[in-house]
């Protein structure tokens, strides 16, 4: 016997917020709370069934599935994913690729290779949690074993989030309302939503040279602001422990800070890139060629030491962008500005304040 169908609605109402949601969303007439759902359905006439587009049996199935699935999402604790292992398959010509390697949470694996080398295919295999059933024959293991089947088809259990250059915001909402919708869709406890949302906005603003307010419409944000908001939102509000990034270079965001933000939230990051800064910031670099994984580089000390130099040049470039945006001229000595000895920007204080923002 199905308890949800045979418990008086009043009792269910007090226990689960989804019962009220159900009646609000289906436009069904408000019920007498002393009735069970089965009794409620029995009292409906043919016109009411026609209007909601379901038979009595279908409505009862719908009601049960609705409450059960949403309760499960609300209850869901994020299963920790500590490692992702790729068991190699084959490249485009059919020859086997590198056989096996593992990326752990908190690591950034950069995916590099010329256009057409199979970077996107690799990201797709990870997104799909391929089990030898894609053209590459790769298998993806989570925490060392085959993922449970529902992770592949239940939208709410998908462990993979994606970010790419082509993504845009389309909702007609302010930053705050948008993030609240996202927090609501995660069915997070109401008292935690507000602070999470504020946290996302604050973090996003550290990534971009042009801060935005929580009242700004998301569709009016600049490319850099959008990217910063998407990254901060994915780091903080998205449940997915694995993040795939497809070429988010040149977006006007501090990429190293952005990657660190994801890593600090224990995300397991895969980033397809041509950007030397992102590639060097990675803890592993997967080199693709002709559809197959050719080798995996673990950056050594010499390369890691170069990050700070490149990162300082990148930040200096970001500041120049800020000047251009502010309508200023770049008429000072750029050679001196970019000189590696000049790690600070004190000589340019007429243009920038101590935080590096334009005056």
């Amino acid at each position: 016997m199905n308890d949800l169908l045979h418990t008086p609605l009043g009792r269910l109402w007090d226990k689960s917020p989804f019962v009220a949601d159900f009646f609000a969303e289906t436009e069904l007439a408000a019920p007498d709370k002393a009735l069970t759902f089965a009794e409620y359905v029995q009292r409906m006439d043919q016109f009411q069934f026609a209007d909601c587009g379901m038979s009595a049996e279908q409505l009862m199935e719908y009601f049960t599935a609705y409450i059960q699935r949403l309760e499960a999402i609300g209850r869901k604790e994020n299963k920790e994913i500590k490692s992702l292992t790729i068991l190699g398959g084959r490249g485009k010509s059919g020859c086997p690729e590198l056989s096996e390697f593992t990326v752990r949470s908190g690591e950034i694996a950069c995916v590099v290779g010329p256009t057409g080398s199979g970077k996107s295919r690799l990201l797709e295999d990870i997104e799909y949690l391929a089990q030898g059933d894609t053209p590459t024959g790769r298998r993806i293991l989570l925490n060392g074993s085959e993922p449970e089947p529902h992770m592949r088809w239940a939208a709410e259990d998908k462990p993979v989030a994606q970010l790419s250059q082509n993504m845009n915001f389309i909702m007609d909402l302010s930053v705050r309302d948008f993030l609240m919708q996202h927090a609501e869709s995660r069915l997070l406890p109401e008292n935690t939503r507000q602070s999470l949302v504020q946290n996302v906005i604050a973090c996003a603003n550290t990534l971009t040279g042009e801060p935005f307010s929580d009242g700004a419409l998301i569709t009016t944000l600049s490319g850099g602001q959008s990217r910063a908001l998407m990254i901060a939102d994915t780091a903080i509000l998205s449940a997915s422990p694995i993040v795939l990034i497809d070429e988010i270079e040149n977006a006007g965001v501090d990429r190293v800070l952005a990657l660190n933000m994801l890593v600090k939230k224990d995300k397991l990051v895969f980033a397809a890139t041509h950007d030397p800064l992102i590639a060097m910031a990675g803890t592993k670099r997967i080199v693709l060629n002709n559809g197959g994984i050719q080798r995996v580089i673990s950056p050594e000390k010499a390369e890691r030491d170069n990050i700070s130099c490149l990162s300082s040049i990148d930040q200096k470039l970001m500041r120049l962008r800020a000047l251009v945006r502010a309508g200023r001229q770049i008429d000072f000595n750029l050679e001196e500005y970019f000189s590696p000895q000049k790690t600070d920007i004190e000589n340019f204080s007429i243009y920038f304040n101590e935080k590096g923002e334009e005056k």
Binding site: D133, E156, M167, T234
Partner: protein, 233 residues
């Protein structure tokens, strides 16, 4: 022969998804496309080498047209020795549903249609076994997640797949799900999952005059907040 119904609002990417499916399904299949006015999709299917037929409903309700012709479509498939037949129809009023009992039912929707869209679509989405969400590559992760939850609320029984109709990303998962569900069509008569909207009124028979004097047949009056409730006549 196996049979799958594909439905979804116009221009949501049904044809693209079916074409991508064709690239990964190993068995030979054909498509019957239902449309209202014109359809150029037959050229696309021809080019891909997929046997296809087009049904134009014209002045008739497209989904009623669908039901009254689907039997003949199955016969066409059998005559042509297809192993799988896919029907493709647009749920134009968001209300109809071509889904048939025991036949895998797919509803395609695209994220660009707005987060409220899943709840606005009736039985076509609510009674589908599989919901395919397209165009997800164009919006943010957050919007995809919000849209997915609205889809779950509209159809909590469904398996939900994100498919990119252009690159085919996600198509393997959909193909596998369809393979799991597909069984050959039996000899017993097919039954719709839910009755189609009633539409026998004076306007069905060509009435053009507007006004309550001229509206007869199955009529439902609208409810206004400053008046008593509407009425069914």
């Amino acid at each position: 022969m196996k049979f799958i119904t594909f439905s979804g609002p116009p221009s949501c990417g049904k044809t693209s998804v079916i074409l991508r499916l064709g690239e990964v399904l190993k068995e030979s299949f054909g498509v019957v496309k239902f449309d209202c006015f014109t359809s150029f999709d037959s050229r696309i299917y021809d080019k891909a080498g997929i046997p296809n037929q087009t049904g134009i409903s014209g002045t008739l309700c497209p989904d009623h047209f669908f039901v009254s012709n689907i039997d003949a479509c199955l016969k066409w498939g059998e005559r042509n020795r297809l192993l799988l037949l896919i029907s493709e129809s647009a749920g134009l009023c968001n209300r109809c549903s071509p889904h048939i009992q025991n036949i895998p039912a797919v509803c395609v929707i695209d994220v660009l249609s707005g987060v409220g869209a899943p709840q606005k679509i009736g039985p076509m989405l609510k009674l589908a076994d599989i919901v395919v969400i397209t165009k997800g590559d164009l919006v943010s992760q957050a919007e995809r997640e919000v849209f997915a939850l609205h889809t779950i609320r509209a159809n909590p029984r469904a398996e939900i797949y994100a498919v990119n109709g252009l690159t085919g990303q996600g198509i393997f998962a959909l193909a596998a799900a369809l393979k799991r569900r597909c069984v050959p069509v039996g000899a017993e008569p097919l039954r719709l999952r839910f009755s189609m909207p009633a539409a026998i009124c004076s306007y069905c028979f060509g009435e053009t005059q507007v006004g309550s004097r001229y509206s007869t047949g199955t009529i439902k009056q609208m409810r206004f907040t400053d008046q008593d409730q509407g009425e069914r006549l």
